[in-house]
Amino acid sequence: MAEVLVYVDHVDGAVRKPTLELLTLARRIGEPVAVALGNGAADTAAALAEHGAVKVLTNDSAEFADYLVVPKVDALQAAYEAVSPAAVLVPSSAEGKEIAARLAVRIKSGIITDAVDLEAGDEGPVATQSAFAASFTTKSRITQGTPVITVKPNSAAVEAAPAAGAVEALAVSFSDAATGTKVVARTPRESTGRPELTEAAIVVSGGRGVNGAENFAIIEALADSLGAAVGASRAAVDAGWYPHSNQVGQTGKSVSPQLYIASGISGAIQHRAGMQTSKTIVAINKDAEAPIFDLVDYGVVGDLFEVVPQLTEEVNTRKG
């Protein structure tokens, strides 16, 4: 069976969930061969093997952390040349997309970004994407070269599918371009202990209606009662009430959870672009005319300062 390269997103060896989802999709096309780079690369093998990786190519050179993007492109290209895969799949993070795009140029392949589903087809993999703020769904193919496809989080279920997962060292000779952009300092984001926004099954978001940084405690309390991630509209982020890393929408994160709860958010097109594909949508807004209500499965017209704490209390009571 043809092999499919899967680029591994991990933090010091801990594989992030979107990569495990990629393995599920990769198995529809062929045998997944994973590529893990940087500190802790070899530690990813157990998790990858458990989810279907037949092989794990690793390289933990310091270049990956010291310089931006290009060393990873060099390594992925080395893996591509070693394996001659039927497709290359990369998680759709900002960095993942850049790595994939540069690889595609080098190997003269077309690229599809932000796929939300992937299936084998007669003429190569068929990718499903959302367009125009998720108001359209498209199906596309790559017609030139080896398909390079980036896939969004929550596009497939994580499935156990034990495979060999044999670790092999990947030999990489870095290009002149590799050291072009130096990372002179790095400040890791502090963990909040809550689920990752793009990976969470439930997202609770607050907007301008939350009316102040201190009031986000109400949103966080609801999120914690449900084990959810916290999101924010750009209005709330621009006001300085919540970090940009939590922004949902066109220029923030795009999320597709089982449940999305919007409080004090009007539902502007740029916000919808990042949450419209959520399975169940709930909104709390005091304006019955707010466009967010066009999307909801359940909406409460009311003051979020009344409704949200009552909901939190009720959730906590029911959980016992």
Partner: protein, 264 residues
């Protein structure tokens, strides 16, 4: 020596309009008014600020797009850019990111540059990969997705910036020439002044076609694209949900709904 900045700007259908695909499954550019992609306004703004800081700088705004794309160039010129280049050719219809990046790279080389600045993503295609591809094609460093950017030392100097990523915030540095992209966190874009709008009318707009760039028609357009859209379907409108007015028990009612859906 003057610092030569090229800003890549895209002309896109207004995101707040009712956007559609045409019969050949390309973006319908007739039904909805077009404008300078809002995310590229941030690129123009940072170019203007970098030029202000430099001893001597010249900003060229560059677009690949249909006749109407001149509007996007005019807007950028009225914000304060010095001149414009418009690559326009009937054979460009339906070009994908690989083709567009090829055309942009050739046009940038022809124009001459020390620094290329792009937006974080176009508001219609929303791929966000073109700046990285440009860096690959031009063979210069990529310093992308910056929320803060500055240039030191003129045309042979250094570009520095902050990239706020998923897991960390990074300080980046590269020697010029380089390709930069900036996010909407980089600072609000200015509005064109009346004076700026008047001045823009007299600024030069150079038109280039594929011949001028030594690009064959087969390399671009719908036929030259390396990806193919087979199907585009409008997402069915979400079925109308239940909407209740809070009369004091709204939170409890909502909890009941969530429990019914097994979320609690």
């Amino acid at each position: 020596m003057s610092l030569r900045i090229v800003v890549c700007v895209k002309y896109v259908p207004d995101a707040t309009g009712d956007r559609h695909f045409t019969d050949d499954l390309t973006v319908d550019r007739d039904d909805v008014d077009g404008l300078l992609s809002e995310l590229d306004e941030y690129a123009v703004e940072q170019a203007l600020q970098i030029a202000d800081e430099a001893d001597d700088a010249e900003i060229t705004v560059l677009t690949v797009g249909p006749e109407d794309a001149k509007d996007a160039l005019r807007k950028a010129l009225s914000m304060g850019a010095d001149k414009a280049v418009h690559v326009e050719d009937d054979d460009l219809h339906g070009t994908d990111v690989m083709g567009t990046s090829l055309v942009l790279a050739k046009a940038i080389e022809k124009t001459g540059y020390d620094l290329v600045i792009a937006g974080m993503a176009s508001t219609d295609g929303t791929m966000g990969v073109l700046p990285a591809i440009l860096a690959e094609r031009l063979g210069v460093p990529q310093v992308t997705l910056l929320s803060e950017v500055s240039v030191e030392g003129g045309p042979n100097g250094t570009v520095k910036g902050r990239r706020d990523g998923d897991t960390a915030s990074e300080q980046l540095e590269a020697a010029l020439p380089a390709v930069v992209s900036v996010t909407d966190q980089s600072g609000e874009a200015r509005y064109p002044s009346f004076k700026g709008i008047m001045a823009a009318k007299k600024k030069p707009v150079e038109s280039l076609d594929l011949d001028d760039l030594d690009i064959e028609a087969e390399e671009v357009g719908l036929e030259g694209a390396w990806t193919k859209v087979d199907e585009a379907t409008e997402r069915p409108a979400r079925t109308a949900g239940t909407i209740v007015k809070d009369e004091g028990a709204g939170g409890k009612q909502l909890a009941e709904f969530l429990a019914g859906q097994k979320f609690i």
